[in-house]
């Protein structure tokens, strides 16, 4: 009302102005003006909208691809994807290890200010994963320098669903596909295969040099460790589009894609291995039913022509699957901690080989001219060496080199040992003495040292007391010993290399041994060898002196190869000749005949174990005196090869505490030979042929279940 009054007061002035258009009422004139100005307004709006579209065109069409790139790259995160580990096959195409697809949970640490509350995440996760928030935080703490921390591996579907559902409360928590290693046959060649695990603190620097990520799963022992770089493959990166909370939205692909590990085929024959494990366990059970002296045992079978390991048994058995989850590990911890199941006794436990060294010593003696093929004497049972006395286990009558092996005459090899050291005249009546009445200490530093060097050196030429170079980690070499006269004749290691160098350079080697060392060395009581050394040694005998490196790897195939198939191997292992022992064929013949007799002659030590074989084997038993748990027991050893006339396989068996070599070790060896020939359809009638398949129910078999419950 007020406004109108105000206006009417000014009405006169206004009227004059508006009256410029006299033929039109003022109101109508103004209305037209207003209408016209709506047109102007529309023009301005049109311009504004056009400006928007023009700007849109500039941003989206002219600059669109630039912005798209910015949008795509700033919101991407790269997640390392571990490659699938290569599978391991045996010679017959049985899968010994493979990667089962599984999922892991990782925590990606987000930059400060992202709102990531690690404690809250740990609290959220703990119940679903049956753990406590404190434990999760501890795991995160331990991996402080890592951007991506592995939290859980091999998670269940329910746990995956939990993560998916609570994604928004778990910023930085990702599900990552990873392989879960599986050893389908459990303890079959468990120590040979080894197992995988996280990189340990000691290994870290090595793996960093190889540009490994800290969370990679690597081989910890066995083949898994030996061929880690082949099996591992290459880490890939998954490019993930995330939101600003780094919650993954969409997987865009790999850059680069992970490259799975290469596929290995071993020389190992799974079926033979299974039989061997069964047979070794049965033998151990049999002995332990009476004396309970056996804690471990080992058996190795090699392909004489290639050095390939066909079977490698180390009792007590070990299932690498136990090492892959905390649950399984805890369950089997009592067994693992109270037994030596994790050790591979075949390559790690040197023990007295006993009489199995006699063939080597005989050959060396013949080569060195210590004896001739015609050397022979009547077994005097007791042998005096200086003031001490050693004796045979039996009187063997007239012995010559061949018979000495066949019947395993100790007296013969005491004498051979002494003769190596030019200690002559030892009989049951006389203690003998140095050649030409040499002064004892001079004799010790010259003739003794030369003799024992020759004896041990001959054994070393067969690979005994040496690393065989088998493609497995942590092989232990055997050792040579002498008894130290200054220290009450305790056994001390004899440094063969130093002794040989000293003799060569200065003609003498200061030592405090005694002539008895020569005698003991002659019968294998002064040296300790591993089963793999013995196997390599007997294979070398079978090869007439050609010493091949024992090996497990046969072929390497490209990633994802499935056997049997047509894939061409990337690499094929060729036999590696480590040495050649030069000796007259006549001498080799004597050794072979001696070993043939041990198995095939009724007077032979292993005759009983090999009665009725359709093939002819050759071998040597060993029964060494050892101490286990304070008790004097026998180390039951056998080495052998077959067939006699054209050897294919060689075997070494060692069962410490199991009595005579002929009692326990030889029958095991025979069953390995039998199985090998049945598998290869040789000698045995067709109805006894076997294939190379590992029994599918292996993990239900006694060989799997019994060892753990044995003690």
């Amino acid at each position: 009302m007020k406004w109108r009054r105000t206006k009417s007061k000014q009405a006169k002035k206004r009227r004059n102005t508006q009256a410029l258009q006299p033929d039109m009422p003022v109101a109508e004139a103004h209305r037209r003006q207003v209408v016209a100005r709506t047109g102007v307004l529309y023009g301005m709006v049109f311009c504004a909208m056009s400006a928007l579209i023009a700007r849109l065109g500039y941003l989206q069409i002219a600059k669109g691809s630039e912005f798209r790139t910015i949008a795509s790259t700033t919101m991407l995160s790269r997640m390392a994807v571990l490659p699938a580990r290569g599978w391991i096959y045996d010679a017959g195409g049985n899968i010994l290890a493979y990667d089962k697809p599984s999922f892991s949970i990782y925590l990606t640490k987000l930059p400060p200010g992202s709102g990531q509350d690690i404690a809250a995440i740990a609290r959220r996760l703990a119940p679903a994963f049956h753990t406590t928030a404190a434990k999760i935080l501890e795991a995160i703490q331990q991996n402080q320098d890592q951007a991506q921390v592995p939290l859980f591996r091999g998670v269940t579907n329910a746990q995956l669903a939990f993560i998916e559902e609570h994604k928004s409360e778990l910023p930085g928590v990702n599900i990552v596909p990873e392989g879960q290693r599986v050893y389908p046959f459990g303890d079959l060649a468990g120590q040979v295969l080894g197992y995988v695990g996280s990189i340990g603190p000691q290994e870290l620097s090595q793996y960093k040099k190889w540009h490994y990520l800290q969370n990679q799963i690597v081989g910890k022992t066995g083949i898994e460790q030996e061929y880690e770089r082949l099996l591992q493959g290459q880490v890939g990166y998954e490019v993930v589009q995330t939101n600003n909370q780094f919650v993954p939205l969409k997987v865009l692909g790999y850059d680069p894609a992970p490259v799975p590990g290469k596929v290995l085929q071993l020389t190992l024959d799974g079926h033979l291995q299974a039989v061997a494990q069964q047979v070794v366990m049965d033998a151990v059970q049999k002995v332990n039913a009476g004396t309970n002296n056996v804690y471990n045992a080992a058996a190795v079978m090699l392909d004489v022509r290639t050095g390939g390991v066909l079977a490698m048994v180390s009792y007590p058995y070990f299932d690498p699957n136990w090492m892959l989850s905390g649950e399984a590990y805890t369950k089997h911890l009592p067994y693992l901690s109270q037994s030596s199941a994790e050790m591979n006794h075949a390559i790690q436990s040197p023990l007295y080989p006993g009489s199995t060294v006699k063939p080597a010593n005989l050959l060396t003696a013949l080569k060195e001219g210590v004896i001739t093929p015609k050397t022979g004497f009547y077994d005097h049972y007791i042998t005096r060496i200086g003031l001490s006395t050693v004796h045979d286990d039996d009187g063997h009558g007239w012995v010559d080199p061949v018979k000495a092996i066949t019947v395993s005459c100790d007296t013969f090899f005491y004498e051979v040992g002494l003769w190596f050291g030019k200690w002559f005249g030892s009989t049951d009546a006389s203690g003998g003495g140095p050649d030409h009445g040499k002064d004892y200490q001079t004799w010790l530093e010259t003739d003794f040292a030369r003799g024992i060097n020759a004896l041990f050196g001959g054994e070393a030429a067969f690979g005994l007391g040496q690393l065989t170079g088998i493609d497995l980690p942590n092989e232990q070499p055997g050792r040579f010993y002498i008894e130290d006269a200054r220290q009450g004749y305790i056994r001390v290691p004899y440094d063969l290399q130093a002794a040989q160098d000293a003799i060569r350079k200065q003609g003498y080697y200061v030592n405090y041994g005694s002539p008895a060392d020569l005698a003991y060395a002659g019968i294998g009581q002064s040296q300790e060898f591993t089963p793999i050394e013995l196997a390599q040694y007997v294979a070398t005998i079978a090869n007439n002196g050609v010493r091949l490196q024992p090996h497990l790897l046969d072929k390497v195939y490209p990633p994802n190869t499935r056997l049997p198939g047509k894939a061409k191997p990337l690499f094929v292992f060729h036999p590696q000749v480590l040495g050649r022992i030069q000796a007259k064929p006549e001498y080799w013949d004597i050794v072979h005949r001696g070993m043939y007799g041990a198995v095939n002659d009724p007077s032979g030590t292993a005759y009983g174990a090999f009665i009725g074989t359709p093939y002819k084997a050759a071998g040597k038993t060993g029964t060494a005196q050892i101490t286990i748990g304070g008790r004097q027991v026998d180390n039951s050893v056998f080495i052998g090869y077959a067939p006699y006339d054209h050897p294919q396989v060689a075997v070494a068996v060692m069962v410490p505490g199991a009595g005579y070599g002929a009692t326990t070790a030889a029958p095991i060896a025979r069953q390995l030979f039998d199985t090998y020939f049945k598998e290869h359809h040789e000698y045995f009638p067709k109805d006894q042929w076997e294939d190379m398949k590992v029994p599918a129910d292996w993990s239900q078999s006694p060989a799997y279940t019994v060892p753990e419950n044995a003690r």
Binding site: W3, R4, T6, K7, S8, Q10, A11, K12, K13, R14, R15, T17, Q18, V26, A27, H30, R31, Q33, V34, V35, R37, T38, G39, V40, L41, Y42, M44, V45, F46, A48, M49, A51, L52, I53, R55, L56, G57, L59, Q60, I61, K63, G64, S65, E66, F67, R68, I70, A71, S72, T74, M75, S168, Q241, T242, N243, N244, Q245, L249, K250
Partner: protein, 392 residues
């Protein structure tokens, strides 16, 4: 001929078509901008709520259209008074997103400044129509003063909330309404001023951003601008200013818009949109969802829908039986057009970010209903005109 067309088409179907297009865009954009997101500030069931408010809004529009807008001439002062009262009430409401701009109503909330804009339009239109119909209309500076007064009260209160965007909308409404109303010399002056300001802003943005920064810092120092408002202007002046803090929103928004390219990244598939890289995308930055997922084709179609709406509204304004109707519709066009330009422009560094919603598209029940009521008012103007022809 115009009368013939009006007789055949009682209702402005093109306008309704434009509204339908905007409603569809709005619902899709809200779905896209909230899809798969969770958080305390993300509205739950935003899409369903928006569809519901579209329906409610359409109803409110129909109701408003059926009402005779001329009856407002009797009550516009009361309307104005109520809206000013509510703007005072909101001062005592709890702060949300740093502003006292919302009156909570149970699960919903009401923004008095939305109502105040409409009330201001009706009030100014009423006053100007009163002047037109006075015995001796005066279009000089003396009639300008009450208009300025009517504008200043809600403007100051809204600025105080603080809601700079809404306050600027009020300024735009008043400016354009008065420009249509004023005498020729004033009109030319205002138009010239408008062109000068636009040119000046463009020049500053393009050529003198460094000097402008100094000026703005001086203004902040002397409390002529609030800190965050200055930051927004600085961000606009210098696209690389404070990318991780004040400039973050606009920077991400422009990336989203640009990365839409010609055909967009696909519905519910926008990198920035799905990734929740643009804070409060469903309100002030909703255009980025459209631009990123539907590209140049989709976002220019959206702008063309707005242009169609403005075209229809301007025709209604021109064809109104009285200047009151014209002024109302001019005010509505000014309100919408300013908001559309300001909102879409800020996503593209075309205008400073002021915290303003995109009419019909942004999430928010009260503003959507007010927008529909505003169109309803315009429809009422258009229908009344026909009624006049029929009866006359």
């Amino acid at each position: 001929m115009e009368g013939l067309r009006k007789n055949v088409k009682r209702i402005d179907y093109l306008l309704l078509f434009a509204l339908l297009g905007l409603a569809v865009f709005g619902c899709l954009a809200i779905l896209a901008s909230t899809y798969g997101k969770s958080g305390t500030n993300v509205p739950a069931n935003a899409f369903a709520k928006q569809v519901m408010f579209e329906v409610l809004g359409t109803g409110a529009m129909a109701l408003t259209a059926s009402m005779d807008y001329r009856s407002l001439r009797k009550v516009y002062k009361w309307m104005y008074a109520v809206s000013v009262f509510l703007l005072v009430v909101v001062m005592f409401m709890p702060s949300r997103f740093g502003a006292h701009a919302w009156i909570p109503l149970g699960p919903l909330s009401f923004q008095p400044s939305e109502l105040a804009k409409l009330a201001l339009i009706v009030a100014i239109a009423g006053y100007m129509a009163d002047v037109d119909e006075s015995e001796f209309p005066d279009y000089g500076w003396k009639t300008a003063l009450p208009v300025i007064g009517m504008f200043l009260v809600p403007f100051a209160l809204t600025l105080k909330e603080p809601a700079l965007g809404q306050a600027l909308v009020m300024f735009a409404i008043t400016f354009f309404m008065y420009m249509v109303f004023a005498k020729r010399s004033y009109f030319l002056l205002m138009f010239g001023l408008f062109v000068l300001v636009i040119a000046g802003l463009t020049a500053v943005a393009l050529a003198y951003s460094e000097q402008a920064v100094v000026v703005i810092q001086w203004m902040v120092k002397h409390h002529l601008l609030q800190g965050f408002q200055a930051q927004r202007i600085l961000t606009w002046l210098d696209p690389n200013y404070s990318l991780t803090q004040y400039g973050y929103n606009v920077h991400q928004a422009q990336i989203a818009v640009g990365s839409g390219q010609v055909f967009g990244e696909g519905f519910l598939n926008g990198i920035e949109t799905r990734g929740n890289w643009i804070p409060n995308q469903w309100t002030d930055f909703i255009f980025t969802a459209v631009a990123e997922e539907f590209g140049f084709v989709g976002s220019s179609l959206l702008i063309l829908f707005f242009l169609l709406l403005f075209d229809r509204l301007v025709r209604i304004a021109a064809g109104s039986q009285d200047t009151f109707g014209t002024y109302i519709v001019v005010g509505i066009v000014a309100m919408f057009a300013f908001q559309v330009f300001e909102n879409i422009g800020m996503n593209m560094y075309l205008s400073p970010s002021t915290g303003i919603t995109l009419p019909f598209i942004s999430y928010g029940g009260s503003s959507l209903i007010i927008n529909y009521v505003a169109v309803g008012l315009a429809l009422s103007v258009s229908l009344r005109r026909k009624a006049l022809r029929f009866t006359g």
